[in-house]
Amino acid sequence: MPAGPPARDGEEDDERKAGLHDRVFRLLLRLYPRSFREEYGDEMTRYFLERLTRAREQRKRQAVISLWARTALDLVRTAAAERGSPSGRHEPTTGAHPMSAFLQDLRYAARRLRNTPLFTISAIAILAVGIGLNASVFSLVDTAIFRPPPFTNAEEIVHIYQDSDDGDPSSTSYPEYREMAEVTDVFAGVAATSSGSATWEGADSPRQVSIEFATASYFPVLGLRPVRGRWFDAEHDQVGAEMVAVVSHRAWRTLMGEVPDAVGRTIRLNNQPVTIIGVGPTDFNGEAGALVTDFWLSISSTPVGGPFRVANLERRQDHWYQVKARLAPGVTVERARAAMDALARGLAEAYPELNEGRGITVFAFDEVRFHPAADAGIFRANVGLFAVAALVLLLACTNLANLLLVRGISRGPEMAVREALGAGRKRVVRLFLLEALLLSAIGGGAGLAVAAWSVRFVPLLPIPTPGGGLDVSFDHRVAIFGLLLTLATGLIFGLLPALRSSRTDVAAVLRDEGVGRSAGRRASVFRAGLVAVQVAVSVVLIVGAGLLARSLANAQRVDAGVDVGRIAVVGTNLPQGGVTGPEVPSVTAALLERVEAMPGVERAAITTRLPVQPGGTTTQIVEGYEPRVGTGSVELPFAYVSRGYFETMGIRVVAGRTFALHDRPETPRVIVVNETAASLYWGGDALGGRIRSQGSQGAWVDVVGVVADVKVNDLREAPTPMIYYSADQSPVGVFSIVARTAGEPAALAGALRSVMRDVRPSLPVTRQLHLDAHVGNGLAGLRAATALMGGFSLLALMLAGLGVYAVVSFAVERRTQEMGIRVALGAPRSRIVGMIVGQSLVMVAVGLAAGLWLAVLAMRGLEGMLFGVGAVDEVTFAGAAVLLLLAAATAAFVPAQRAARANPVEVLRSH
């Protein structure tokens, strides 16, 4: 939701929030010289908080965010100026202009970064990944929940929903939309839309596209206009008028290659000719957030959706449309509500059996983002994703802070000398800060470049989308977000070590006492604790990724029960191609005959349902079987298949026979069942068993054969009963042709399509693929989750390793003298390395233990996605622990070895 929920959470919550704003603001004030802060800090805070209160009163989250953005920029800018001004600085300048001192420092910071390329490159890489990841996630989340749609005077738009049968705001029937549209004294316009998908037969292969049927009033109500061509006219609201479409801007770019003559072209959707009359606006690709609408179709194009969609336009019982309206000038939402209440009462009177008690709800524009029922869930999912990404960035920041600290320590003497020579502490802090900001600027720039470059791959992600693609773009909002993030990152990881390490005791350092003793034990415990937290977070993510990866591997190993490697699939829809009634069997037979005659095809058959394909069930009564609960019937998945289907797919016959030539439409119906059905309902011996569909009296159907199990809905399912009807006995019009090939099935797909065209040019190709790919598609969700979790856990592992490295380096630097003495006293270097690594593993072990414990709790939430592996899987947990220990040991080994290599004579002499 763009605007926050009205803050009914009570005064207390508001106060708590104000406290947070107050603290953040005061933190930012630390950018100023102390004298300025003491003089004006309280006043400025009060000033800011009052403005914040006013922004809050607008009840718009944007107002608060915008105030914060402006204020933060203002503070950073003026603080820099104040520090540069003569009165703000206490250190004597060498007569130089403040700007030249700044440039000098900048050059110095750049030189230092150049001199330590390993550190610089790894820091930039971490930042680039962290900021790039966050920017990418932001672009997704922004599209989904923040970015205001580009509608003209959006506050005049309202959402209108008829209640569902359960009484919740839902969707509207088309006839009732028309009655809403007649309420012209309240609305300037009312529009209805209904989304779906269609098969678009492009130049080479058919593909699924997302479509949305829309009334001619839709764009006017939203205040949008096509960039090319025109939008629908009122005449297009009638079935029978020309079938027209407006292609969305994104689909025009991605699917049509931005052809300049798109307007005027006729395309075939579900094998129906539709003329494109416009190209949609650049900044609006449908209302489903990141999911793109490819084509808007006029109501006159409803035949594309099939006969039922046309009939639906007159059916008050089918609620298929979403309605939006623009209020007439001066009309309030309240008045619109009253008008719709009156309409609802009228409808209840006119159609009591359909509309008794069915209300109509009007929402103001800001109250709904997608749909009242879905908004909360979408918001939560997006915030969750955002939070994980932010967590990773935070880990990156703490690590960089640690790394800078490590450098800071080695620079202790240098800083002390600088301070002794008259460089004020502020100048020293500035050096640190500049270095951090320089790093974050480069890293952030790289991250934004990565994000801008990688959004083009987002549509390729294996995220299951219903047709269409993902509309994720890298725009100015993402860029601004990335820049703010870069600035914040630099400030956070630069300021902490800067303040800490500039607190060096000049005299002590110069007296050669070493920095170690003043650095403080508490600080080092804190740093170790930080690393332990990083380790714990990594363990949880790694365990999650491991469990998902094992589930995926298990699922991929599952035998679907068919020869997936050798089957090519092509789907069609005979009624859509104009083939109906008595023609269906002959066209089907001709198709099969032609396919079987193709070189390379061994056998072919048709089926209404491929293996591993979610689908419907039929309600059947099994003779002699009494289900433990319910009405005495069972729900059975089913398919209509032609003779030769089982042989084509390589499905073993266990008992009896499969369908034969003598199974004709006029002979008694027979079925084949799978082994699970046979054992569930007939104790294994199903031959001679009978079923009949619930509601039909008499008509028993004989079981003539039992075949081996095939995965019905999903590779991960438990054995599921299934029955097969004969497509030769009951002809079907919508099916897939499966062809068993001698060689590579992919080569066959194109040829299959042209064979189909030979039989009847009008036949649509609804799908065309390799069975292997079809079976793999069923795991797309699991694969996406595994990839995402794997990516995050790898990142976390790297960061944890880096954290260990930083802290161990830090500790080792402080103990150089001790190491020198040990070596001088004859300790073998290997023992020193072992000692350091062993000691550093203590903090890792603490984090590991905590992480494993957390993982046990957290993995319960993942249980639904796991397959063939328990949520507390010892192998995965142990593997994650070993992986982390190895990574940590490696990270500790590098600085340990450096310490052990130190020449004792030099070490002792220099201290």
Partner: protein, 110 residues
């Protein structure tokens, strides 16, 4: 110092204080009203300007105007020097506006 033209925030603040002493938020509100919302001073810009203006003698800290005023707030009043500066600036702006009118860049005002 007087030769140089004033920074826009300084000029706006002086204008706002011309009617009487104000505290920080009052100044911002007055500027908001004077410029019909076109100028919005962030806290840093505002207080840094106030500090510099005090150092330059254009304004001074003042007692709260009445007993209802929040005693924790700092009030600022314009000094005679400040009045001279804002008047000089306004006059120079006026000359510029007149120059623009002479070149038909602005409509003649009634």
């Amino acid at each position: 110092m007087q030769q140089r033209s004033l920074n826009p925030p300084v000029f706006h603040i002086l204008l706002a204080l011309a009617d009487g002493s104000l505290h920080g938020l009052g100044i911002a509100d007055r500027i908001d009203a004077l410029t019909r919302g076109a100028v919005d001073l962030g806290p840093g810009t505002l207080y840094r300007s106030l500090k510099e203006m005090a150092e330059m003698g254009l304004i001074r800290e003042a007692a709260p105007p009445d007993s209802d005023a929040d005693p924790r707030r700092k009030y600022y009043a314009i000094t005679a020097q400040g009045r001279r500066a804002v008047a000089a600036e306004a006059a120079s702006l006026e000359r510029l506006v007149q120059a623009a009118r002479d070149r038909k860049l602005l409509p003649e005002r009634a």
